[in-house]
């Protein structure tokens, strides 16, 4: 196997390490499968670029990058942006849902303390 630089090997191994770590987090139920998808995709793609120099060269040429290293950075950055955006969307939805739950809880507690529901009474 041919490598362009020592950095490429480090990046490739780091990507494998990330994949293993992500899988371990899923195994220990610290990370939901759903959230692991983007991370796994990122590590697989970067590992592929790291281990296959022809592939890395090809993509670098297609993208018009000047250096192979820039390609790896660009791909990594793209995944980072994707993950962050995904989390922001999730968080926004969660905020709304959280509001609804707190509201329901507040109204329910009020009803319980008052005794009876809204349909009751005069």
């Amino acid at each position: 196997m041919e490598f362009i630089s020592r950095t490429q090997i480090i990046v490739a191994l780091a990507a494998v390490g990330l994949a293993v770590f992500v899988l371990e987090l899923v195994r220990r139920r610290r990370l939901g499968e759903e959230f692991s998808v983007l991370w796994m995709a990122a590590s697989v793609v970067i590992a592929a670029l790291g281990f296959s120099t022809p592939l890395l060269r090809l993509i670098t040429r297609i993208l018009g990058m000047l250096f192979e290293s820039s390609t790896v950075f660009a791909v990594g950055l793209a995944f980072a942006v994707a993950v962050l955006l995904y989390l922001s969307v999730k968080l926004s939805r969660l905020t709304v849902e959280h509001q609804i739950v707190v509201r329901e809880l507040a109204l329910l507690r009020h009803e319980v303390e008052r005794g009876g529901g809204p349909g009751e009474g005069a």
């Binding site: 905020t95 709304v96 509001q99 707190v102 509201r103 809880l105 507040a106 109204l107 507690r109 009020h110 303390e113 008052r114 005794g115 009876g116 529901g117 809204p118 009751e120 009474g121 005069a122």
Partner: protein, 256 residues
Amino acid sequence: MSPRRPRSAPEAGPGSERQATRRSRGRVLLIIPALNEQGSLPRTLDELRLHAPEHDVLVVDDGSRDATAKLALDRGVEVVRHAVNLGVGAALQTGFRYAVEHGYEVGVQFDADGQHDPRFLDALVAPVLEGECDVTIGSRYVTASGYRAPLMRRLGMLVFSGVVKLALRQKIADTTSGLRAYAMKVMEVCQRDFPKDFPDAPLLIALARRGFRLREVPVSMRERSAGRSFYTLGKSIYYPYKNLLASLMAWIQRPV
């Protein structure tokens, strides 16, 4: 389910006034969002009892850490407590939800801090109750009133009233006024579709886009008597940004 009497309710003794407030429900619910307002809420409630005894009052305690809820309960008004702080918009929405569930015809947004004068309530509520419009806004700028806001605030108000005017083709002078009356059908819509954080310019645009009729009613406001405004917590940069964006979105979004 068997109807339970509030025997186990914490601080309600037998035949306490809390039960008495249930006897008959009015048509109008005053919704008071409150966050750590122990300093001014009691006075506000006393004033309301004096000048607007015919209206029911709901205090939405938005996760206060002080005695806000207890002081309100002591005065015999209804209190709904958020377990955590959600923001003034969410508190108002909780009030709407309560009003709709309990069949109130009109919900009035009323500040806990003593800025609002209960003597203007009749003028605010009447047009909505009579079906002349769907939302009334108690406005400081329709006619000359006693209130002078700080310069930055005035500037912001000018910008947002411009945005609202552009979006609605209707002039609303006081978009940040927290004194408003909403018809039930408006409160129903707000269950599903409600801007986050601050219920002002974006809400007005969203409501007007749905075809609800807005009207401004001249009022005068006072300085807050104690506590801190919802609007001053280092939000002076975030607020204009967020409000402009939300206004724009309310303008172009399809109603949910």
